[in-house]
Symmetry: C2
Amino acid sequence: MPRGVPKKVDRSLASLASLRRLPLYLDVCRQAEAEGLSIISGTVIAEQLGLEPIQVRKDLSLTGILGRPRIGYALRELIQRIEFFLRWDVSHSAILIGAGRLGQALLAYRDLRRYNFNILFAFDNDSQKIGMVIEGVKVYDIALMQEMLQKNPAEIAIITTPDYVALDVASVAYNAGVRKFWNFTPRRFRLPPGVLIYTESMLTGFSVLSVRDPTA
Amino acid sequence: MPRGVPKKVDRSLASLASLRRLPLYLDVCRQAEAEGLSIISGTVIAEQLGLEPIQVRKDLSLTGILGRPRIGYALRELIQRIEFFLRWDVSHSAILIGAGRLGQALLAYRDLRRYNFNILFAFDNDSQKIGMVIEGVKVYDIALMQEMLQKNPAEIAIITTPDYVALDVASVAYNAGVRKFWNFTPRRFRLPPGVLIYTESMLTGFSVLSVRDPTA
DNA sequence: TAGATTGTTAATCGATTAACAATC
DNA sequence: TAGATTGTTAATCGATTAACAATC
């Protein structure tokens, strides 16, 4: 195939499934690089993840990278292209709503930070927590959220409140301009069109674990 | 279509996608029941979740339920059939490895408890935490894990440790007979065949939130 | 060179959606 | 009854996998 021809990167071409696999490839690549390698083949990536090589190649082609037959992909370039494709090369600002145990666990999640996920502020309604600094992030009174968001726009709102207030706090953030929500409560909610809500439900993991047979 | 004919329930027919939607239906049904309804149609469920009615009907048929044209499904029966299909009608025993903030958040996750997810013990290597009782679950020295597991078999091991010990603690649990793992660390690991590992990675959510356009 | 790996085009597979008779 | 909803069969859609020429 012709080399040196830049391919167009179209993020809308990526399926949800591909989007979920790309971080896995990135992880394998980073580890390989840490081990001193400078080149990696799709076959090797596939092997480490228990996937098919063709699937890896197809996914990687989304990033526009061109590999060398018989050799593989240049590691550094591949890492950069995956990060670029996922937009992890630029900062993503976020606020955390609900500074309980789950929220605090997220504040401490190293990999998010490493990939430019920046939590600006945390909010809570518990006077015990207000004023605390957790993992370098200060906790503010939730009553100040709308005002603070208007002064400091954030791309993403993380919702780690009790579920019965999820919609309320999300609505406030929405009114202050937030259009992406990362919902960790078991309650799903809807907002006006033009909003992206990604819900992490523990129940999906539990359903897979209870139904699937490990020996199958 | 013929009514009163019992349909066979085959859990292996369910795709991962269907398995993820079933808890959503269950949630809608429980809410409807709480509101005093005794019947619900696939159309209404679909509407509340923003899905297509045909998809809901197809998924629900997995549970073997038969609805009535023009009417819908009997709520109580539907709830029971979904719970049965997901095996949430029987208890699932688990141990928690790593009683940090994330682990504690899971101990407090009400919906898991409600669906018969039973965390028997927690383990940690922090002497500060050993002996504590969190949400009714006692924290033991991780050195006791293998021994305690052999006396009290658990179906699932939840891994909420730092990532660099994930494989180690999983191996111990594996040797003590655990065959299902719920991995909350960003590190993927492999165990011998015949093991089910479900990994919750925050990076998948982040990748979707950073790439997808809310207005699209 | 020989042979492994890439990228593309085509085939397969599986899941979603459409169509529609049955029926409450 | 008329019309909404079910369950099934068929069609469509999209993702995965296979095949294979190009090539390092």
